[in-house]
Assembly symmetry: C2
Homo-oligomer: 290 residues x 2
């Protein structure tokens, strides 16, 4: 059986090439797509992620604004900042880098992001729309997984997809997206008592646990498609790659799998928000523009 | 093994007794909980459902308003009506009886209901909150199923729950609620290729298909808990009751299973909305009430 390496860099490259043209076209129309990132505190890996995202914006001609707030920022202060970005007509997307310091009400902060700027897909309203099948901006990692599946022509309908993890931005939305594509979906988590037994039935495995090398090779059915959404310290995924590689018909590496597509998805959704913004402006009748 | 009949009438009765006291207390404070039902067109079973819900309100001392719109009502006209109820301070809950006539954009109508009055749990925003674990008003039938499970002390954590159906108000939210109670959840549907095989693994089965007697006895594992959310013509559920009864350790009958608890849940959520309304009024500083 031919083994397929699901190369996220190839997918992301194609997406970014497409986006470059769209950004140029927006700029010709006077709109520069802009992503605002908010970082609270000084977690070094969060700083790295935010920097990476800002750089990715620049490389395709987008603007990015970095808001860096001190560790001791209160929830209220953060909400004020988010509201300001919600009301800033030059900002098309808002990304609050998580985790935020533990004294901050992260959910409240997420919920404050205006849904039309929630390009990272963190609000419950956005999640609800995604799950019911009409969301504009799903969470980026789940959307990236679906993009890889689509790019490589992997069949989803009627397949049994098993998602390991149930976080609001990963396990839950990827389960919802797979279900909407007509997979039979099982969502497993820390309280699942027979994980190996369930995984062995999976045609499609999505690992979204946050535990390095957690998914074992002998839990995987011969020929399964294995997608690793894990990003643990030292660039290690949630699956035991070498062991799962032997079993899988297709597999994402870490790094170079889901990660680059996630960032490309963030850019894409910000560009889409800018495109909507432009369409909305053009819809304003002339006499109101005086 | 002792067979447990999950008697929805007993559960609903207890809920309604509790609600009667809460309604009285609200009325003593000048607030009469009020549910507005909207019926578009003349579908006889929809008329019956709406009437049942109105009568259920009255029996526990609540008010209900019936809005009956003609078959030819447009989406726009319906939205105007919903907005009016959103802004009516005496209305605590809004129920749009579905299905609406096919020329109406049902989703748009649902989405127009203000989330604080969405006691029937039909908005995507409400669904998102429910799925992420902090929803005020889940869809009534899923909430009823969880209530029955709680009432009869059925263990959910670590169990494998299989939900058959994925509608926005039934299959999807009940999957989400079971997941939040730490079940491992599989959602099956019309594209599932190996339904019997998956159902045979289920500790908890929720049938939400809308096909009379669809779930067969030999698809059920010995000792499973079987919950039938189906309501098909002639008061027939989605499970083949007699055959499933033999296998199940606990089972809901149809009628008298999930149905009565669904209506009690609708009442409960409307009363909760009224209670929130009263708390909010009391929170207004005195000088602003002049």
């Amino acid at each position: 059986m031919k083994k397929l390496i699901l190369d996220g860099n190839v997918v992301a490259q194609e997406m970014k090439e497409d986006l470059k043209g769209r950004v140029e076209s927006l700029k010709r129309n006077g709109v520069t797509p802009c992503l605002a990132t908010i970082l609270v505190g000084n977690d070094p890996s969060s700083e790295t992620y935010v920097k990476m995202k800002g750089n990715a914006c620049k490389r395709i001609g987008m603007k990015s604004i970095r808001v860096h707030l001190p560790e001791e920022t209160t929830t209220e202060e953060l909400l004020v900042k988010i509201e300001k970005l919600n009301n800033d007509p030059f900002v098309h997307g808002i990304l609050l880098q998580h985790p935020v310091p533990s004294h901050i009400d992260e959910r409240k902060a997420f919920e404050t992001i205006a849904i039309e700027k929630d390009v990272d897909g963190v609000t419950s309203a956005g999640y609800g729309q995604t799950a019911l099948g009409f969301g504009e901006y799903p969470s980026c990692t789940p959307a990236a997984i679906m993009k890889i599946i689509e790019f490589y022509g992997i069949e989803v309908e009627g397949k049994h997809a098993v998602v390991v993890g149930r976080s609001p931005i990963l396990g839950k939305p990827v389960s919802a997206l797979l279900l909407n594509e007509n997979a039979t979906v099982t969502t497993c988590h820390s309280k699942t008592t027979n994980l190996a037994e369930i995984l062995k039935q999976a045609d499609i495995v999505v690992a979204a646990v946050g535990k390095p090398n957690f998914i074992q090779g002998d839990w995987i059915k011969e020929g399964a498609v294995v997608l690793d959404a894990g990003y643990n310290k030292g660039n290690i995924g949630d699956i035991d790659y070498n062991a799962c590689y032997e079993k899988a018909s297709a597999i994402t590496p870490v790094p170079g799998g889901v990660g680059p597509v996630t960032i490309a998805t963030l850019l894409k959704q910000t560009v889409e928000s800018a495109e909507r913004d432009m369409r909305d402006r053009n819809r304003v009748p002339q006499f109101r523009q005086a």
